[in-house]
């Protein structure tokens, strides 16, 4: 399937989009570009660390809300469009820790409504959390009934550990994205996915999602998957569409395939820092004026640069 087909079929206005990748590693840049190209808006973007792809979606004016543990590109600075939109009051945010976000996806993938964690306790990440009195069944306190109000669907609650009354425990609600977009190393045509190297929050998030669209560096035969089934990170039952897109994470890295490109990351960051006009100009040149992702790769990097990034990675693994 092409990126255009996969995105138009599975990403809808108002969708909750699970974002793969972390910082400068394996961000789903090609798939996010396609969402921007099709201008699919009113999105809620969720993930652990959200970086360049989320920032470009925000810069394109397509995001209403983010739910995440952090937004930044570390040494390359913060996610400037995201920061500006929050400070301007045009973007809603729900803040979590990274473990708390993974725990939300873990509940989602396990088919349970919530999951406990001991993170967030005492912090202002819980400030908005409802304090839930132990219910009869949960806390074991005879005579108590469940609280009359329903907690906010995206916020944690604190309960007493039913097995150790007096010990506070945080419950985080299951998070099931409408669609997750993830760039991976290898997949077969039916959607068996092999992620090599670090996998961040992606396995939990993908299995929690109603649909998953992956882009991959290489399409492999189903026989190859079946020859090494222990290497399958996520089986096809969770995956809705596979798009073949070499360098689909550029300018971020893909482990075993290519390193990140500090020059282009910095170029995007300069535009993002520069304000709404500069971001629009960047997106016009690199997304809207590029009919295909390969046109962007040619414009932003060129074959020689891409090969150099490939060699830089091969030297490291």
């Amino acid at each position: 399937m092409t990126a255009a087909e996969a995105v138009s079929r599975f990403v809808r206005p108002g969708s909750t989009v699970g974002m793969g990748g972390q910082n400068i590693g394996r961000c789903p840049v090609a798939l996010a570009h396609e969402i921007i190209r099709q201008r699919i808006g009113e999105l809620t973007v969720v993930g652990c660390n959200l970086s360049i792809s989320m920032d470009q979606l925000v810069g394109a004016g397509l995001v209403r809300r983010t739910i995440c543990g952090s937004g930044n590109l570390e040494r390359f600075g913060t996610t400037f469009c995201w920061r500006r939109a929050i400070e301007d009051g045009t973007l809603e945010v729900e803040d979590y820790s990274h473990l708390a976000m993974v725990t939300r996806f873990l509940a989602g993938e396990m088919g349970v409504p919530f999951m406990p964690t001991r993170s967030l306790l005492g912090s202002d990440l819980l400030r908005a959390a409802e304090k839930v009195a132990p219910a009869g069944g949960l806390g074991g306190t005879a005579g108590r009934t469940a609280p009359p109000t329903t907690p906010h669907p995206d916020r944690p609650v604190v309960i007493d550990n039913p097995w150790n009354p007096g010990e506070p425990v945080v419950l985080v609600p299951a998070l099931r994205p409408d669609v997750s977009i993830v760039h991976v190393q290898r997949a077969d045509a039916v959607g068996n996915v092999v992620i090599e190297g670090f996998a961040t929050h992606e396995p939990e998030m993908m299995r929690a999602s109603r649909h998953v669209v992956v882009s991959c560096e290489e399409l492999v035969p189903n026989d190859e998957i079946r020859a090494h089934p222990e290497q399958t990170t996520v089986p096809f039952v969770h995956v809705s569409a596979v798009v073949v897109q070499p360098f689909g994470a550029y300018p971020t890295s893909t482990y075993r395939y290519y390193d990140y490109d500090p020059v282009h990351v910095a170029a995007y960051q300069a535009a993002a820092r520069g304000g709404a006009g500069a971001v629009r100009e960047y997106l016009r040149a690199h997304v809207w004026q590029c009919a295909r992702f390969d046109d962007y790769l040619q414009r932003a990097a060129g074959r020689e640069r891409l090969e150099a990034l490939r060699r830089a990675m091969q030297e490291m693994v």
Binding site: I24, S70, E87, F198, Y260
Partner: protein, 253 residues
């Protein structure tokens, strides 16, 4: 950086945050703590970090790791599970009780949004010792953080336990002026060591609260030449971090 590395003990399982902590942990590994086990939140376990990483997802961080796994494995199965000795963070805002704000700063001019918790809240919640490396500026050391992203001692003695966190916790803050540690009685940060040539008054002038002074406060030992050599030649030979920080501390003096 060199002083921060000294607080990493040989054999420690260290949960390493991005930026200077990655560098200092690498320095420790290449000098006095060869058996340190670095854990990085993107899912990396026990790597031999190559110079000079700029991100927790930088492939240089993954070099010769024993496992490249998931966030849940390292933040959940190691950190929350209680298997990490030391959490090592770069700081944004840190207050009297060692609470850290990396989410939002409110000022008369409006709000300034910061990156958020990342794994910071998880580290401060579940590590037995927390090591923070940051520049010593008054705005970074307020009396009370605008927003507590990562819990230190919250309101003081007993507050962590009341919140449901382990009270078996200590915090060390290494800056370009001093080393601060929590007072075991009051839980407030106090001056434990001074950088060479820096006075208590100079530290207090750059701190938004009035830190106490630990008994027997002394000067930080100067770096051994061979350690400095490892830092300059092996850990950050391209001067991704060092030049900037050296010039900052030089300008101060």
């Amino acid at each position: 950086m060199i002083e921060a590395a000294r607080h990493v003990r040989d054999g420690d399982v260290v949960f390493v945050g991005t930026g200077l902590p990655l560098l200092a942990a690498t320095l420790a590994q290449r000098t006095h703590a060869p058996n340190v086990v670095c854990v990085i939140e993107s899912g990396v376990i026990a790597p031999r970090v190559r110079p000079t990483p700029v991100s927790v997802s930088d492939p240089k961080v993954m070099y010769r790791a024993v496992r490249l796994g998931t966030l849940r494995e390292v933040l959940g199965c190691l950190l929350q599970r209680g298997l990490v000795d030391l959490g090592f963070l770069g700081g944004a805002q840190i207050d009297r009780y060692g609470n850290i704000n990396s989410t939002v700063i409110h000022s008369p001019g409006g709000m300034k949004r910061l990156p958020g918790s990342g794994g910071g809240n998880d580290m401060a919640s579940h590590c037995r010792r927390l090591l923070v490396i940051t520049r010593h500026e008054r705005r970074r050391f307020p009396e009370r953080c605008d927003y507590i992203t990562s819990p230190g001692f919250l309101d003081g003695p007993g507050a962590r336990e009341r919140a449901g966190l382990s009270g078996d916790f200590g915090i060390t803050v290494v800056t370009d002026l001093a080393v601060l540690e929590n007072d075991p009685e009051t839980c407030a940060l106090r001056i434990a060591q001074l950088m060479p040539g820096i006075t208590v008054d100079a530290v207090r002038a750059q701190t938004g609260f009035a830190p106490g002074v630990a008994p027997g406060v002394r000067e930080v030992a100067p770096p051994a030449p061979e350690v400095l050599g490892v830092l300059r030649d092996e850990v950050d030979p391209d001067r991704v971090y060092l030049r900037e920080d050296e010039s900052v501390s030089a300008a101060r003096r």
